[in-house]
């Protein structure tokens, strides 16, 4: 049988065919190219056009970057070195990097102070942003505002200590009496803090040393990207809690509180930020006698915080409105009082929904801090537009400086955006 079979067919393969690679068109780069770039004649056309555009852009930018001059004393010298070739004049960055980052009048030998404050800031915001980290790190967060103030502004060490003591005393009072009666604890806490600050301020003035360990730096000397970071961090961290309070106030049943919140939000949202900044820098100066004005930095922080807290309040109100009514009723039926219901049931859900909106406002706010340059504060953009471009050496260098500024802002804003996406994934408890 087997013989007959063997003879009745012309060919029998006796060995296994070795495995051969798939056809070139069905694998690797070729397949990817075919599928994604050249799948039809229309796509092929688009690919070619896009490649041509990319080539055009890169052929302009790459020589500009790689021919860049990093060492020169002025724009004229840059142009001499380049001798007609295209090339950037990055020398302005090497010469003025410190002014771009710290402003022109922050003392050079004290740069370590804001840098250290920045490093501590990273540690301080870590436990807030990543809640898997040990909770003990929150102590750093609580102390950070006082440390940062001391590092950046300097002056007698008693000032931040008194500020800290005031906050601590207020918190203790609130903790003690707030359990029984929220209002008593709240206002008692604020009053205690002010008493401590008043007495402490008096003591600080009494024992003010002639030369404190940390050389004092006035607010006017702050500048550069440091100023943007300071304004951004301070205003975001102040405006989120304030925004929550405003959003809850707007939903309140009490007409007075509701009225105040609505008027505040609608007024502030109806006014451009730049107007508020002008009020802060120009109009407020009329109200105070000369030499006893509120610090310009503080005025600007107040204005930007007001502005962004109104926006954040509306974002959070959207989050609250998105919650089904059953959630509120469930909290009531459990017998929770208002603060408990908000803290345990409503806000965690509402805030989770609001994350993209809040991050949106935060990124916008951070970029809006560059507006302070119009009220003659020298933030990063103010430094570029004012002193650097007005110096005889660097007048006319635009792309390099503004490109550097956009790079710095991009890094920060992209970081914020990536964090918020991670946070959304991390908090995704529903299965949509």
């Amino acid at each position: 049988m087997s013989d007959a079979h063997a003879h009745s067919v012309a060919f029998v393969r006796t060995e296994v065919i070795p495995q051969s690679p798939p056809p070139a068109q069905q694998t690797g780069v070729m397949k990817w190219l075919r599928d994604n770039l050249f799948s039809s004649w229309a796509n092929t056309l688009l690919t070619l056009v896009a490649a041509w555009l990319i080539y055009l852009i890169l052929s302009a930018i790459l020589p500009w970057i790689f021919n860049g001059v990093w060492n020169a004393d002025s724009l004229t010298q840059c142009r001499e070195i380049l001798a007609g070739r295209t090339g950037a004049c990055f020398a302005v960055l090497t010469e003025r990097w410190n002014q771009l980052l710290f402003g022109y009048s922050y003392p050079r030998d004290l740069y370590w102070r804001p840098v250290l404050a920045f490093a501590i800031m990273l540690v301080a915001i870590a436990p807030v942003l990543f809640f898997d980290l040990p909770r003990k790190l929150l102590i750093v967060t609580a102390l950070f505002p006082f440390i940062a103030f001391y590092l950046i502004w300097g002056g007698p060490i008693l000032t931040p200590i008194v500020a800290l003591l005031g906050c601590g005393a207020g918190y203790v009072v609130f903790n003690r009496y707030g359990k029984g009666n929220f209002a008593a604890g709240f206002f008692g806490g604020i009053a205690t803090a002010f008493v401590v600050w008043g007495v402490g301020g008096f003591v600080v003035d009494l024992v003010r040393p002639e030369t404190p360990w940390m050389t004092p730096v006035p607010s006017r000397d702050l500048g550069g990207f440091m100023l943007n970071m300071m304004l951004g961090v301070t205003c975001v961290s102040l405006s989120v809690p304030l925004g929550i309070v405003l959003a809850l106030g707007r939903q309140s049943d009490m007409p007075l509180i509701k009225g105040i919140c609505v008027v505040f939000i609608e007024f502030v949202r109806g006014v451009p930020l730049i107007t508020l900044l002008f009020v802060a820098s120009v109009m407020l100066a009329y109200f105070f006698p000369p030499d006893s004005t509120v610090d310009l930095f503080l005025r600007v922080v107040i204005m930007i915080t007001m502005f962004s807290s109104a926006y954040i309040a509306e974002v959070i109100r959207g989050g609250l409105a998105a919650l089904p009514k059953g959630q509120f009723e469930a909290a009531d039926s459990l017998g929770l009082d208002y603060p408990q219901a908000m803290r345990l049931i409503i806000l965690p859900q509402a805030l989770k929904i609001s994350i993209p909106g809040i991050v949106n406002v935060a990124v916008g706010l951070f970029k809006d801090t560059t507006l302070v340059s119009v009220i003659s504060m020298f933030d990063l953009i103010g430094m570029i537009r004012g002193p650097i471009l007005a110096s005889t050496e660097w007048n006319g260098v635009y792309w390099e400086l503004l490109g550097f500024a956009s790079l710095l802002f991009f890094v920060v804003c992209y970081g914020i955006s990536q964090y918020s996406q991670w946070l959304e994934r991390r908090l995704a408890t529903d299965h949509r």
Partner: protein, 338 residues
Amino acid sequence: MKKSILFGALAVAGFAAGGAAASTLDDVKARGKLNCGVTTGLVGFAAPDANGEWNGFDVAVCRAVAAAVLGDPTAVEFVPTTGKTRFTALASGEIDMLARNTTWTFSRDIDLKFDFTGVNYYDGQGFMVPKELGVTSAKELDGATVCIQTGTTTELNLADFFRANNMSYEPVPIETNAEAQQQFLAGACDVYTTDASGLAATRATFEDPTAYVIMPEIISKEPLGPLVRHGDSEWGDVVRWTLFALVAAEELGITSANASELAAGTNNPEVNRILGTEGDLGAMMGLPADWALKAIQTQGNYGEIFAKNIGVDTPIGLARGLNAQWTEGGLMYAPPFR
């Protein structure tokens, strides 16, 4: 309407507060520092260098006043102001004087209640156009797009000039000189107009300055000078005569190099009076006898300041023109020191 009443009330309150304060001269002496308003940056006139030191033509006036009043040209707190914040900063008392290429006009002097204490630079508004436009006179600019800095007198002059010549234009409003430069180079406007000094400074930074021409027409008078608040004449006198001392020093040949030598006494009584070796001009103003000596020693005379910051040997390369001494056909003329 209500708004204007509110602002008016605020302004009145501000001036009342300013008037109630002690005299500015005493304030400055007590503080040990002069608060001087300058621009946020204008090539040659005021800008901080790589070390954060302010330099420039307007800055020199601040430093001269500080040297005269406090004996120390570094005892100045420079308060940078923009075109929009400069007047409120002065009116509210945030600064003692403003030296910020500000044009002396009737309404600023009378209506805004300031005192201009002299002119440190006679400027005039001009036009710059690309050579390829083929325009030779500003009168041919009908229908042009014009880059113009907002909130300045140049904006108003431009409107006047085009209306008087029955021409139309399209303004491209810009905030700073730096922005204007870029817009102009990018072709967003055919014409850039600002003070002639600014045009020269701007053109000097272009990669190819010869491709741009400055029109011969000067369409306005722009006397730039320092100013102080209305109603404190003693302080105004100090600023005014410090400026005059610098101008007179050039006329009389006093320089930063020979001032100390001349202060030992010369045959020229006016030199002696200025430098405080004769008479008591300083004491009349409530200043030390060597007030002008200090100012001239540290900053140089008017001509030196001009040459160092904006003169022909600098990248800006401005000729003296109207700003030469009256003996050389210019307008710089200091009243006699006696």
